[in-house]
Assembly symmetry: C2
Homo-oligomer: 405 residues x 2
Amino acid sequence: MSKAGNVVIGQSGGPTAVINQSLVGIVETMRGKPGIPGAGVGKILGARHAVSGIVKNDFIELQNLSQERLNRIADTPSSALGSSRDKPDAEYCARIFEAFKKNDVRYFFYIGGNDSSDTCRLVNEAASDHKYELHAFHVPKTIDNDLMHNDHTPGYGSAARFVACAFMGDNLDNAALPGVKINVIMGRHAGFLTAAAMLGRRNEADGPHLIYVPEAPFDSVKFCTDVERVYSKYGRCLIAVSEGIHDKEGQPMAAKLAIQQGHHVERDAHGNVQLSGSGALGDFLGQEIKNYMGKRTRVRADTFGYLQRCFAGCVSPTDASEARMAARKAAELSLASDTDGSIAIQRVSDSPYQVEFKRIELSDVAAKTRTLDPRYIVDGCNIDESFRQYLSPIAGELPPIETLG
Amino acid sequence: MSKAGNVVIGQSGGPTAVINQSLVGIVETMRGKPGIPGAGVGKILGARHAVSGIVKNDFIELQNLSQERLNRIADTPSSALGSSRDKPDAEYCARIFEAFKKNDVRYFFYIGGNDSSDTCRLVNEAASDHKYELHAFHVPKTIDNDLMHNDHTPGYGSAARFVACAFMGDNLDNAALPGVKINVIMGRHAGFLTAAAMLGRRNEADGPHLIYVPEAPFDSVKFCTDVERVYSKYGRCLIAVSEGIHDKEGQPMAAKLAIQQGHHVERDAHGNVQLSGSGALGDFLGQEIKNYMGKRTRVRADTFGYLQRCFAGCVSPTDASEARMAARKAAELSLASDTDGSIAIQRVSDSPYQVEFKRIELSDVAAKTRTLDPRYIVDGCNIDESFRQYLSPIAGELPPIETLG
């Protein structure tokens, strides 16, 4: 084989504040490289809207962008290439492989969550079947922080920082004008992002006073008594609730609610019920509290929604740097002899905070979900202080707070 | 009169990211000053939870705090003294005056919106009736930016910055995963904060594509056709909607909706219907779009809620500095011969941006509302680009954005 091999990069699923760091990490590592023998690096093609751009032959060439422009793109939130919620099946992946063959693509990088890793795996299987040498790498990305074998994932730190900053301010707001305040946070199966609310506290009287994650079954009656207990102690109650909370039968509260209200329940290509982009769960929980504690109780509910993942200017420096380094690692491995894999961030030490970027098998990540360690969950309604040691270095230093005590 | 006069400071209404700058601006200007002849400055008493702390004799002494601690408090969002939604009538103000007499209070500073200025006026009237020399000053504060005779108000710039950063990110998010996205923003009567969404655009194709403010009557049918027109042009539509939008009869959509859904309509001491702290308006508008454009259209709604006013780390430097200077000006005037007044920020020039802090009458501000100049409102569904010149210096420099174009 004498032709140079081209590179395809895609960004999949929900955007994050640092997903372009990973895009740029790949471009800067790959371009101009001799590559593996017989397949040196040619064009670097960004696939518009992820896999859908690959099958539509909708690419943008990235190899000639200046380093300055790349750095500015890296610092910009959301997926610069566009994204997609398509979940390619074997047939779709065969079409991806056909597009790769046609475009002399020998390197494929897919930045995304566990489904993206599965896409890499399926495309590489198609290539193997045709004895076509393809280097397919998955670069981790998800604010949900739910990839197996990872201490944490790029995107999570910045989203956690957003949640922490929101709670720091909202705790002070709630202290100034006391009442019951419910904040609903993203996360379908994993409570990592909701748990980040705990960074908003500096002492026991600070909120969030209650934190509900999907890992613990949610019971409306216990919820109301929890809130009343806190309220009678502090005269106020600030609550973090995951959008993914579900009853003990495993049915998401948000889906239950939509059905109760006679709404059409929207599902994505993965069969997941829509949770985000609606304030219904927060409003429902607020109403439960009012019914229980009386209409005169000041109850407010906010749903953080899409702000959590792409808010401009709210980036954890550690998260930004790790998103870039994880992608560079994938690019370096692809240029060595490895033909596939996913990059996992693994913690080496807490103090000083240190991580390593390790190659793991695509199948180790694909279609699996990591959840919050039960040792962090207190009585089904809070997150233990020990979570702070895990999260602080990932979310970065937070703005200082000083009160009159 | 030989006794030193004490100072009372209160923080009223909804907290902001810079309201403590004003608190600190008063403390640092007043303490240790000889004051007006015969009434030098004594203790500086912060009233806990605004007027309610005054009548309950619940004060915290501020004159001995170190400048370093004061600076840290100034940089912390929300009202350090606590706040209140009480709207004192003449009888309540008479009780405030009694508390002042008892505590030898000669200087009163009330940081808040137009109602707070009215409280200053009523308390000062009670003092005059008793021939008691009181210096009562209103220091402006409101994210709504709706005080008369002000170019803008402290608190608005930082909240506008939050809205702008949210839209910058959400525009890129919506471009990556196209659909209809509705964001509901605070503001009962004035559309200034909603209009700030326009800073999220860098070119014509960028969102927000539609902006609805309370100054223009809202019509659901026009709304749906507006959205469809944008959607068919760009394949997506990002929308900013004020929580205060109302129909042509002047009834708020949020109140109409609550009544339709059989909910208890909560009103504050001012008779205002609760608008914030619920996702109902966004969800309702989303449903309208789905009904009109079809269930398969991807429609999401977020309500920014309380995050807008106290998010930690999202502060406009200009806003922070002006909040401090407006308060210092009030303190300086009180130490001179003036017995009452409100401070207005007035713009001297756009380029270079320059403002002055001017004493105006309390009655010029009290119980009046400034709204958005109609020349900024385009076809009832957008904000003109000329608003950028007004807003940019107030919101401060925004994070840079670079796209692949």
